[in-house]
């Protein structure tokens, strides 16, 4: 089969690899009909995710058709159309039973690696480095899906892939960011980052009863999408460098009640002092993550407010404004998305026409053109916001 493989920093290739097969009794093989490039794939592409190996198959947003199931799979059969969560969950451990699906105890074969860095290992993920299990990803023609009864959701035939694909990650991720933000009716919600996850966080904030949503980015077409599709007010941090001051002014001196970081470890932060510091330290590998947005969100958040992190952090950050977080009594919530928890409720919203997630798609390309698509997405060329690939 064809698959997109990682060979190093900014180096991915489409190559022919052996087809996957059933290995464990709860496995299924999915023939991919649509797959997407995620913003978090760019962290791998840029070389900031450790424990990648040359030849690893990338991709964790994919859907398709079941072509084969293992002997213990009960709820699926060949021909079923499924969306597959990017997190792999066993369904039987303490964490899965408590709906903390992305923290599953039993799906990371390389748990010892994650334990070295994090103390305990989270769930295995598709196509996201060996510390997260070393599973082959979904930017391929076929994928081996472990515990097929637990994660994947059967979806109806009438709805096109474009509307369903983002149930695998970015729609639930934006939705969980809004849920974690503890939005109460009438709250002002500030969202840093207007990439696809930020766009879904904005849409979801309204679903939780936000009174006002303010979007922060520097890319004109992304801010425009946040305004038009997301009905958000916007701050361009390149023309308006004092984001905290601007937010304070816009909220009558109080600050946003809820702050969502939909950027994560590769924040740009323009020419701010802490962003320059991060760049120097990250370049010499003394700090793994650039946390400009997190610092700004903590600084901007109103007293007693909540900061919710949806953007990925992988390692260590410096100069965390802990005093501001502590003395303002902030709540911080974060984590990889517990995708299965959100699949059915969000599918229902799609079926009822409340939201059409395809609004973020700007490019549709064949899998063969994935390397060029990565470049374009990384550079945000050609107004690129979200790329969907067809194997």
């Amino acid at each position: 089969m064809k698959a997109l493989r990682w060979y190093g920093r900014n180096n991915v290739r489409v190559e022919s690899v052996p087809d996957p097969g059933i290995v464990n009794p709860h496995d299924a093989i999915v023939r991919v009909t649509s797959t997407a490039i995620c913003g978090s794939d760019l962290h791998i592409y840029d070389g900031y995710i450790p424990s990648m190996q040359a030849g690893d198959i990338l991709g964790h947003e994919f859907m398709g058709e079941i072509v084969e199931v293992g002997p213990e799979v009960r709820s699926l059969r060949p021909g079923d159309r499924v969306v597959v969560p990017f997190t792999i969950s066993c369904g039987a451990c303490f964490f899965c039973k408590n709906e903390l699906w992305s923290l599953c105890d039993n799906t990371n074969p390389n748990a010892w690696m994650a334990e070295q860095t994090y103390g305990y290992s989270p769930a295995g993920l598709f196509g996201y480095s060996h510390a997260f299990g070393g599973y082959a990803g979904g930017q391929a023609e076929y994928v081996r899906v472990p515990f097929a009864d637990v994660g994947p959701l059967k979806v109806p035939a009438g709805i096109p892939d474009d509307r369903l694909l983002f149930l695998t990650d970015i729609f639930p991720t934006g939705y969980m960011a809004a849920e974690n933000a503890g939005i109460r009716p009438g709250d002002t919600v500030a969202v840093w980052g207007c990439g696809p996850v930020g766009q879904f966080a904005i849409k979801s904030a309204w679903m939780f009863g936000a009174g006002r949503v303010i979007a922060i980015d520097r890319v004109a077409e992304r801010l425009r999408l946040a305004e038009q599709e997301g009905r958000a007010e916007s701050i361009n941090f390149e023309t308006n460098r004092d984001v905290t001051g601007q937010l304070k002014q816009m909220t009558g001196g109080r600050g946003p009640d809820c702050c969502i970081d939909a950027v994560g470890m590769e924040a740009h932060g323009g020419s701010s002092l802490d962003a320059m510091y991060d760049r120097v330290k990250q370049a010499v590998r003394m700090e793994s993550d650039r946390a400009h947005v997190l610092r700004e969100a903590i600084q901007s958040c109103r007293k007693g407010g909540t900061v919710s992190l949806a953007g990925v952090y992988g390692g260590f950050i410096d100069k965390m404004p802990m005093g501001a977080a502590f003395n303002k009594g902030l709540t911080l919530r974060m984590g990889q998305t517990h995708v299965p928890r959100f699949l059915k409720p969000l599918l229902r919203r799609i079926e009822e026409g409340e939201i059409d997630p395809s609004f973020v798609i700007t490019h549709r390309l064949p899998l063969d053109e994935a390397p060029a698509a990565y470049r374009m997405f990384r550079e945000k060329d050609d107004g690129c916001i979200k790329v969907v690939l067809t194997p």
């Binding site: 996957p20 464990n24 009794p25 451990c93 303490f94 070295q116 299990g133 510091y277 120097v280």
Partner: protein, 251 residues
């Protein structure tokens, strides 16, 4: 709870506070740190402070050879292949303790473990265990170069749903002892399984083979074995990223 120690001179776990940055990287860190610090003096104001902070960190990393970020990420660019092999030449007794919480009642876990023939399913270095009678058993384990080592063991203590203890029979080529304890976890959240293993390898080529039974990192080996035990019990399979079934069958 995990502990591993190699008793005797030169215990290598004591080396964790040692250098973890390669000498070339250290030199580069010193140079870059000095340059940034110099720049900091020239660029006053907040930019200078930022440069000085970063420069100071770099200088410290270069001069000490110790990078906390590397340490927490488990990276070590100072350790060479030759150094690691040298460490393994020591043949001292190995003792490992580890525990895992499994979401099942104590009785079920005890029953599974008491059938010693189940152990190779999740203990990677074991080939087979055959129970000879109610107390004695014959163990076969993997050794380097496709060889195996064998020994006989007996159960020396047994309390239903609490404890199983075993040791190799006197006169065996391999001196080994182990125990597994079972206890209900707090709040009815399954059970805690705690394993303690000790090997006392003899001298000679066989000893070298036995010293490798538990791999270069015995604590990790036992931790991984227990993780597989939990996976087998909770999910009925062992997680793997293999793309196709290997000739040896399911993992």
């Amino acid at each position: 709870m995990a502990a591993a120690d190699r008793r005797g001179p030169g215990g290598w776990l004591g080396r964790t506070s040692d250098k973890n940055v390669h000498q070339w990287e250290r030199a580069a860190s010193v140079a870059a740190g000095a340059a940034l610090s110099g720049l900091a003096l020239w660029r006053r104001g907040w930019t200078g402070v930022a440069l000085a902070l970063a420069g100071g960190d770099l200088l410290w990393r270069g001069l000490s050879g110790n990078c906390w970020c590397y340490r927490l990420l488990g990276v070590n660019t100072a350790r060479t292949g030759a150094g690691r092999r040298a460490v393994m030449r020591h043949r001292e007794s190995i003792k490992v303790e580890h525990s895992v919480t499994v979401d099942r009642p104590v009785e079920e876990l005890y029953r599974y473990w008491r059938r010693l023939e189940h152990l190779p399913r999740f203990m990677e270095h074991l080939v087979s265990v055959h129970e000879l009678d109610g107390h004695r058993s014959r163990w076969v384990a993997k050794a380097p170069a496709g060889r195996t080592v064998e020994w006989e063991a007996e159960i020396i203590s047994e309390r239903e749903n609490e404890l199983i203890g075993w040791r190799s029979l006197p006169g065996s080529e391999v001196a080994t002892a182990g125990s597994v304890r079972f206890a209900p976890a707090t709040g009815g959240r399954g059970a805690v399984v705690a394993v303690s293993l000790a090997y006392d390898p003899p001298a000679g080529p066989l000893g070298a083979a036995v010293a490798r039974l538990l791999g270069e990192e015995p604590a990790r080996q036992v931790a991984d074995d227990l993780r597989r035990f939990k996976q087998v019990i909770e999910t009925g399979e062992i997680a793997t990223n293999e793309q196709v079934l290997s000739e040896a069958g399911a993992p």
